[in-house]
């Protein structure tokens, strides 16, 4: 799309936190000094071999990494095209990829001497991961969660409370992930002296999009090595679902400079792109929210619109700024899947592979169902199975019962 393509897709952001025009640090002055401190603390940690060594220890023995790369034989046969592999992030401790990032951020928070951790959560996966690591390291934990999400993701609310976190239902706005992030930012402004904000996705002010991406990149790094071992070469395509986009960025980033690898992100199309949805790239345009410039769903006056997705984890009117840049440069292709397509994929995967996926990666599976049959049998396709579906069982059961009655 742009005339001047970068030499590398992996060198961003620049020192002011920009990926092209996207990213930046659009925050209140109260937070700015802390954000600069965090940038420095993270740079120090990154350069400290003992930080990496300690993190690797926890990733192996506490999280259970590496997560397997699994050949989905029956799904492959069923679709009759590309050879499909799952990166099994749902097998991580706490049930999703979120723990990779939370572990990293909690270790940075400890280096900074912060004792009070706050987080926003949509589906509750990031909240559970944060509550888990706060329990492990004896830190106080407050999780902001939209009141609508508290209702539809009860199992995760109960888990967070069992882990000792305080879940704060957010009643403002659309009472989903966007509003949870607003209230988390308000808490942070108020308690900036002792509080670390553990952001759950590759969004927010710099350095968060970069830092979260770095912590999640273990997904793609492992995938490279595992695919090399399984097939002796790189995969031909990658597919991942996108709300904010952290599981996708984690898988994609190590492959961005391999032009032979096709990359697909899947947004949530909700009731359809002409109706209520959460597909910021398909249905939005660049704007500024929550500390960064990125694609957002908004009206002609710049007011943010409510997103809709069956999946609480994708129900957000924005996307990480690096994804916006990868879209504009054309390196990644962004598709979308509707609620109904995701539900169908959820059921198919449960029956064919004995894996009940979370509704979020069910969106990725839904697009695999389109993409795989059109590709040859020697095409190697990796889909990030970013979370398990336990949390979604009551909600899906209600929907399916409703559909039958």
């Amino acid at each position: 799309m742009n005339s001047a393509l970068p030499n590398s897709f992996r060198s961003g952001p620049d020192e002011t936190g920009h990926f092209g025009i996207f990213g930046g640090r659009f925050v209140a002055e109260t937070l700015m000094p802390l954000i600069l401190d965090l940038e420095k603390a993270y740079a120090d940690a990154k350069a400290d071999p003992s930080f990496q060594a300690e993190m690797n220890g926890y990733l192996k023995d506490y999280v259970g990494r590496p997560s397997p790369l699994y050949f989905a034989e029956r799904l492959t046969e069923h679709l009759g095209g590309a050879k499909i592999y799952f990166k099994r992030e749902e097998l991580n401790h706490t049930g999703s990829h979120k723990v990779n990032n939370v572990l990293g951020q909690i270790m940075v928070a400890r280096r900074m001497g912060k004792e009070r951790i706050i987080a926003e959560t949509g589906a509750g996966q990031h909240g559970v991961a944060t509550a888990t690591l706060c329990a492990r390291f004896g830190l106080e934990c407050f999780v902001y969660m939209g009141a609508v999400d508290v209702e539809r993701q009860q199992p995760n609310v109960i888990r967070m409370e069992m882990l000792g976190a305080k879940v704060i239902p957010v009643q403002s706005g659309s009472r989903t992930l966007k509003d949870a992030m607003n209230d988390a930012l308000r808490d942070w402004v108020t308690n900036v002296h002792n509080t670390f904000y553990c952001i759950g996705t590759v969004a927010g002010p710099h350095p968060y999009p970069m830092m979260v991406r770095d912590f999640q990149s273990i997904i793609g790094t492992e995938t490279r090595a595992q695919m090399q071992e399984a097939e002796g070469r790189l995969p031909d395509s990658l597919v991942a679902c996108i709300g904010g986009g952290s599981n996708a960025m984690g898988l994609f980033h190590p492959f961005l400079d391999d032009p032979s690898v096709e990359i697909f992100g899947v947004e949530a199309a909700g009731h359809g792109l002409t109706n209520l949805h959460a597909a910021s790239i398909a249905g939005g345009r660049p704007g500024v929210l929550h500390g960064n410039r990125t694609y957002l769903l908004m009206d002609e006056d710049g007011q943010i619109q409510d997103a809709h997705s069956i999946s609480a984890g994708l129900d957000y009117p924005g996307i990480g700024p690096e994804h916006s840049w990868l879209h504009e440069t054309g390196r990644v292709t962004y598709l979308s899947a509707t609620d109904d397509e995701a539900l169908a994929a959820f059921q198919l995967l449960s029956r064919l592979e004995g894996i009940i996926p979370a509704l979020e990666p069910a969106h990725a599976i839904a697009k695999v169902m389109d993409l795989a049959p059109k590709r040859p049998k020697d095409h190697l396709m990796v889909v990030n199975l970013s979370g398990r579906g336990d949390k979604d069982i009551p909600q899906v059961a209600d929907i399916l019962r409703g559909a039958k009655s």
Binding site: R25, E29, T30, M32, G173, N182, M298, G302, Q303
Partner: protein
Amino acid sequence: MTTRIDTRFAELKAEGRAAFVTFLMAGDPDLATSLEIIKALPKAGADIIEIGMPFTDPMADGPAIQAAGLRALKAGTTLKKTLKMVRAFRAGDNVTPLVLMGYYNPIYIYGVDRFLVDAKAAGVDGLIIVDLPPEEDAELCLPAMKAGLNFIRLATPTTDDKRLPAVLANTSGFVYYVSITGITGSGSADSTEVGAAVARIKRHTNLPVCVGFGIRTPEAAHDIAQHANGAVVGSALVDALRASLDAEGRATGKTVSAVVDLVASLAQGVRGARQAAE
């Protein structure tokens, strides 16, 4: 370039008193009532008027101003209509400084260049944009200065001496000292601490320093006005406005007077405070 803000502070300095700065949300609870209130503010004792530009996601505001923004949006307020209201105010008052306050996205979507032209033409004197720190000056601050508008920066308790010069570098009109770490409408500022903070900022700048967040009563406004060049009251006015609305959130016969009467009593508090010698 001298703006109405500069002129007003020069006058107040001659009078030896601090400015009383009011904040209300444009279009709260509807554009007609909002204009009627704003027109009445100078006579009630407001020296500088801040008008909020409503935004769906005001991340530095407490419940009172969040709700005011939502009422305004529900009543159909847009940035274009806010500027139209400013023009209507200016038609009857060419001296009272008027500052627009809000978040960047609606301006970014309106188009920065077009916004600056339209705002200047409407009679806006300055801008306070909560989510544009000095690190993002190229977005709006520098173009605004070029267009002849003051870009008023927020300084906070977390803005230390090392950072102050960066915060003050492209600030003009006045400095808005946020007296607490927190959202609007929460907590209250200790006037001794505020005095020390204002003195600290004044070591770095000759600009007037106004103090806001947590000022709700004439007494508090009086205390702050002894230590600063201005006291800003927002949430207390917005609360008074809300209390005057009917069950559906619509204006009643009491709405304008509820706000204007409170402005008058707060203005008394500010005017009673003699300014310490500079």
